[in-house]
């Protein structure tokens, strides 16, 4: 039953993660702004300041407020913390999911409070050498939850300890997202669903992280999420390698091999994150997954692609293009493409508004079916 729960929650999408497109602002590594070197989770002080100045607009600030003052106010209590060892963050993210928008018969609207959590990080030593970081929050009821079934209402999606031996190298142990692929925010993205690196796929393990001017490497050995039953825990190894090219872009590849008592999963992908400057960026990922059930009843290779473009016409405002490709079984010719424009607006730090349209089209020899539509409105608050 828990397997079904995890399968269902795949389709609920969206939770606060790092925004890989901020390479367009000149930040190729997630470590610049997050405590977790692979991105996602709590922002560090620098990340808060960047989100307040480079990323968000100045809607509420008078002209007399300079960027330094705005950065100074980016802390949890709207000021620079008085101590250096504790950092907190509170998040809320909710969205309105509209299926078949505009259809008088089939339109379905659902409001999903996707994220309500508290994040805490304890940090010690020079350059925050030693950190203890974690979160705890209320999770939404599964979108297609089974009536009468009990689901965990509260859970932690990350809790780990990290130590950086040198500025280039650190080890992290605990519950974290797997080091794999581009961590786009869309949890329903094929590039996150297929390799099982979406919002409930965190795993206990040890992550090694290496970073220098040209290379960034994450290697992750994991034993599954200890909150799950033993037989469901996906144990294995994943890795991501990124290389900086032409000084501002990144190209990389990822690999993952994991298994539990029911499933063996092998996935690999290659990706690029291109800095188009002044906040605009282009992300692309192409990968395959091979899934084999333990009794070899089913063996399937799937292929996925992601192309996500961000154009920033003015500060705080991004226009998105999301193109996703899915070939569920490479032995067949059919595939589908999910395509859609979106807008993302940060009128001020701590507030994100977003709207996306998803148009899904199936391509199958000898077949032509009507496109399906999905509309998302999203509100994200963080303090």
């Amino acid at each position: 039953m828990k397997f079904i729960f995890f399968f269902i929650t795949f389709f609920m999408s969206l939770e606060a993660m790092g925004y890989a497109n901020f390479i367009g602002h000149g930040y190729p590594s997630c470590l610049n702004c997050h405590f977790n070197p692979m991105g996602g989770g709590q922002l560090n002080d620098y990340g808060r300041a960047v989100s307040a100045t480079a990323i968000s607009g100045r809607l509420i600030y008078p002209e007399s407020f300079n960027e330094e003052k705005i950065a100074y106010m980016s802390g949890f209590l709207f000021k620079k913390p008085s101590q250096n060892w504790l950092r907190t963050q509170v998040n809320y993210r909710g969205f309105n999911l509209i299926r078949n928008p505009g259809s008088s018969e089939n339109e379905i609207k659902t409001w999903i409070p996707m994220q309500r959590d508290l994040r805490v990080t304890l940090k010690f030593g020079e350059n925050d050498k030693l950190i203890f970081s974690g979160d705890y929050g209320k999770t939404p009821y599964p979108l297609n939850g089974i009536e009468g079934e009990d689901y965990d209402e509260y859970r932690s999606r990350s809790h780990y300890v990290g130590y950086r031996f040198t500025p280039s190298f650190g080890l992290y142990a605990g519950l974290m997202d797997k080091a794999y692929g581009i961590r786009v925010i869309e949890h329903s993205a094929y590039s996150r669903l297929l390799p099982q690196v979406t919002q409930n796929d965190q795993t206990h393990g040890i992550l090694g992280h290496y970073l220098n001017e040209n290379w960034e490497i994450g290697a992750h050995i994991f034993g599954g999420n200890l909150a799950q039953d033993q037989e469901l825990r996906m144990k294995g190894f994943s890795s991501i390698v990124e290389k900086t090219f032409l000084n501002i872009h990144r190209i990389g590849f990822s690999f993952q091999q994991s298994k539990n008592d029911f499933l063996e999963l092998l996935s690999y992908s290659t990706h690029a994150r291109l800095n188009v400057k002044e906040g605009s960026a282009l992300l692309a990922e192409l990968g395959e997954t091979k899934k084999k059930t333990k009794n070899s009843i089913e063996e399937r290779t799937s292929r996925y692609g992601l192309l996500q473009g961000f154009v920033r016409p003015w500060r705080g405002f991004y226009v998105l293009t999301n193109v996703e490709y899915l070939k569920n079984d490479t032995t067949f010719d059919s595939y589908n493409v999910r395509w859609g424009p979106g807008i993302q607006y940060f009128p001020m730090q701590r507030l994100e508004l977003r709207a996306d349209i998803y148009n899904t089209r199936n391509f199958s020899p000898g077949s032509s079916t009507l496109d399906s539509w999905l509309l998302l409105y999203q509100l994200h608050l963080w303090f």
Partner: protein, 354 residues
Amino acid sequence: MVLRLFLLFFIFMKVGIALGDDIANEIITDYKQHNYAGVVSKFQLNRKREIFKSSEKILLITLKALEVKGLYEEAVNLMAVYLKTNYKKEHALILKAIKSGLDGKNESSKKQSALYFKIFWNIGKVILSMDRRDIKTEQYLKHFESFREILTFLEFREEKVDKFNDRVLEHLKYLDSKKYFLSKRFFLEYLTWQQKSVLTIGGEDHSLILTNRGVCIGGGMGYKNKFYHFFLDSCAVLAGGEIQSQNTIPIYQQSDISARGIKSSLGVGKVVSETGSEIGFKVPVLFISQDLTDPPANSLGCGGGCSVEDPSSFSFLTSIYSNWAFDNWYFQTEFGKFINKNDILWTLGLGYNF
């Protein structure tokens, strides 16, 4: 005779001075009442009078009034005349000292340096008030640079001079970026679109879904500056499609239906980065020739006659596009909706700007 002439000259001179005094008094009165328009008007009517060349007080008052009224060019002219009249020799010495590369800190009086600064400032204001770059801009820029050089030499208000100089140069950069130039490009797109058609069986209509995909090869031309891009592009469509009944009954299906045509678009985009990336709107017109085959007369249910309507040859769309530029190459996506229909077209393309 000489005496008479001398007397006449003396009388004229006295009258002139008296007139000058009157204007000076009026100007001072207007200034005290903050009547800057009055000061300007009196200056414009009497600009050749000696008083504007010799009185420092009147110069400063008139200058203030001209600045308040935004008449920077007149302010520059007024000060240039004043400089020429009162500091001709000193000015020549400074220019000579600059040429010889001497230390200039003590080369001029504070008043003279302040005058240079005022001229520099007003020339800058003239440039800042320009909304296009032309010959006149270049002339003022030449003078602006000369006075900046003098002020740097004199080490007078250096921080202010540098800051203002940066502001003027920034404005010139902005004027440059406003200039439109011809844009030309070549591109190759993958495109897919869906349209509806109708199968008529015995007078009853049934909806069909036609999904096309293919490529579009073409080019475009337009006018572009650092902020906007207005263009027309056109490409040849080489595509094919599948058609199927929307409902399971009746069954109608056809594969690999060739679609050939042209897609032309008028568009306007906002340039969002120094690399030339854009976001904008297009109004594409799609002309496609695609023939659907009627079901054979002996098909099930076609006894009373069956026919399939070809999709419309001309379609008008509205679309949004995003363009990510990397030097001359660019990547582009487009998401378009057929006007008055719920059908969608997407494109994904790669192009080169010449």
